[in-house]
Structure formats: structure tokens, C-alpha cells
């Protein structure tokens, strides 16, 4: 079973979907408006939108014909938090690595 974060990251993995998100960053848009710059079919764009919607990266309006898509930033925040934890993990580790290198060099000099 995929957890929430994996679903978000998988959705972000595709270049077309990233381009769709970039389009929506400029403001909400309909499926037709989103599809316009792409050399792919409307159903293909709809499938991408479905993936983005499932991942919580976009939401869609209720009106049957005019269903504008808009970017949802909460899922992206989840990715950001995940990365921040790793950044703290490695930055802390590399601080210790620096101290350990000093220790190794002192030992080398004593030989």
C-alpha cells in the first residue's frame, strides 16, 4: 500500500503533470485550457488531472461543464516537510563528520 507521501511524489514524477501544475500556478483553468499547450489527447490530460487530484495536488470545481482545476498547496507542503527532515538528518551528520575528520587528522599527526 502506498502512503500519502509516495502518492504525491509519484504524481510529481511525471513531466507532463509537473507542467500542468506550473500552468495552474498561474491561476485556475479548465481541462481545455490546460490541454491547449500539450501535444496529447484530452482524455490523456484528464487522466493526468485524475492522478493529480487523487494525490491532493489539485482540486476541481463542482459545476458539471465548467470544472476549473486549481492548485492545492497542502500536498506540496508534505513533500517540503519530508525534505526538511532529511536535510536536518544529513546536515547534522555532516557536522559530526567534520568533527570526526579533525579527530582523525590529529591522530594521524601524532603517529
Amino acid at each position: 500500500m502506498l502512503d500519502r507521501l509516495s502518492v504525491t511524489l509519484s504524481a510529481l514524477a511525471d513531466p507532463t503533470r509537473r507542467a500542468i501544475l506550473a500552468r495552474l500556478a498561474k491561476g485556475e483553468a479548465t481541462v481545455n485550457e490546460i490541454a491547449a499547450p500539450f501535444d496529447i489527447s484530452l482524455p490523456a490530460v484528464s487522466r493526468h488531472l485524475k492522478v493529480l487530484e487523487t494525490a491532493g495536488l489539485i482540486s476541481r470545481g463542482r459545476e458539471a461543464q465548467w470544472r476549473p482545476c486549481r492548485l492545492e498547496t497542502q500536498a506540496l507542503k508534505g513533500v517540503d516537510d519530508w525534505l526538511s527532515r532529511y536535510r536536518r538528518f544529513w546536515t547534522g551528520s555532516f557536522d559530526k563528520m567534520e568533527a570526526y575528520i579533525d579527530e582523525l587528522k590529529r591522530k594521524e599527526r601524532r603517529k
Binding site: 502506498l2 507521501l5 509519484s10 517540503d80 516537510d81 525534505l83 532529511y86 547534522g92 570526526y100 575528520i101
Partner: protein
């Protein structure tokens, strides 16, 4: 929310006052790994390393507050003193669990010092690996700007 919000990979570059061979040793030998792996309040009591391409590793870091945390993966690339790549995933049920990542580290020695470039990203599927193309950063700068704007509007 910061500008890193919309990126999904980590890049940390650091210059160490040591030759590349020493740094490479710190990543490849368990007795060294145990001395530095983990954030400041953690110790690393356990590191089992099968250091060859296709070989796996398992490491445990421990703190009073968070207890024992295991992670591990498989070595995918080993070029002594130059480059190292391995998968990385947490064993436990924490918020980062379930997402396999790939870590790539390069070492570039200059005048006795070494630039270590550390890169980590999700390692989800073939699509993910193949989609690693240009234009990505630019796309997400726009997204980040949007997210920042949204945050501002919401906080007003």
C-alpha cells in the same frame, strides 16, 4: 513555506578539509560510519555494510527521545574516491517510511580539500528515473512563487 516547498529532491554541497580518499572511507567503512551518522542528538551503534555494487547495508541510529531507528538500502554505484550511489529507506513507520530514495554522492578533491556533493531524491519507478530532465527547476520556481503568494493571502 519556503522556496524549497515545491522541489522533491535534496542537494547539499560541503567542503571538507580532507582528501577525497578519507571522505570515501568515512562512507564505506562501518567503524567510520558509526562515528558520524545521524543528527547531533543521535548515536549510531550499529552499521552492517556489504560494500559492493548490489550489496546491501543496514544502519541503526538511536536517541533517548526517538529510540532505535533503522535504515538501509543497496549500493548501486561505487567509484572509489569519486562517486557513490545507494538506495535509502527507513524501516520504521515514521512519516518518511515507505518512500525509497536514492542517494548519490560525488567527491572532488582540490588542493587537499574535498567538495562533497550530496544528492537525494525519491526512487519510485522507471518513470521517475527517466523523467529527470531539464526545465524542472524553472517550473518549480514558478510554483514556489505561487505557493508563497497563496500563503501570504491565507495568512492575511
Amino acid at each position: 513555506m519556503s522556496a524549497t516547498l515545491t522541489d522533491d529532491e535534496l542537494l547539499i554541497t560541503r567542503i571538507f578539509d580532507a582528501p577525497a580518499s578519507m571522505l570515501f572511507g568515512l562512507w564505506s567503512k562501518p567503524e567510520h560510519i558509526k562515528r558520524w551518522m545521524g543528527p547531533s542528538n543521535f548515536t549510531c551503534p550499529d552499521a552492517e555494510i556489504d560494500f559492493r555494487v548490489g550489496g546491501s547495508y543496514r544502519v541503526m541510529i538511536k536517541s533517548f527521545e526517538h529510540g532505535e531507528n533503522w535504515f538501509g538500502g543497496v549500493y548501486r554505484e561505487i567509484v572509489p574516491n569519486k562517486r557513490l550511489a545507494f538506495t535509502f529507506a527507513w524501516d520504521n513507520d515514521g512519516p518518511s517510511a515507505g518512500v525509497e530514495t536514492i542517494v548519490t554522492i560525488t567527491f572532488e578533491e582540490k588542493g587537499g580539500k574535498t567538495v562533497q556533493t550530496f544528492h537525494q531524491r525519491p526512487f519510485l519507478n522507471v518513470e521517475r528515473r527517466d523523467s529527470h530532465v531539464g526545465g524542472w527547476t524553472q517550473t518549480f520556481e514558478k510554483l514556489a512563487a505561487y505557493a508563497a503568494k497563496m500563503t501570504k493571502e491565507h495568512s492575511v
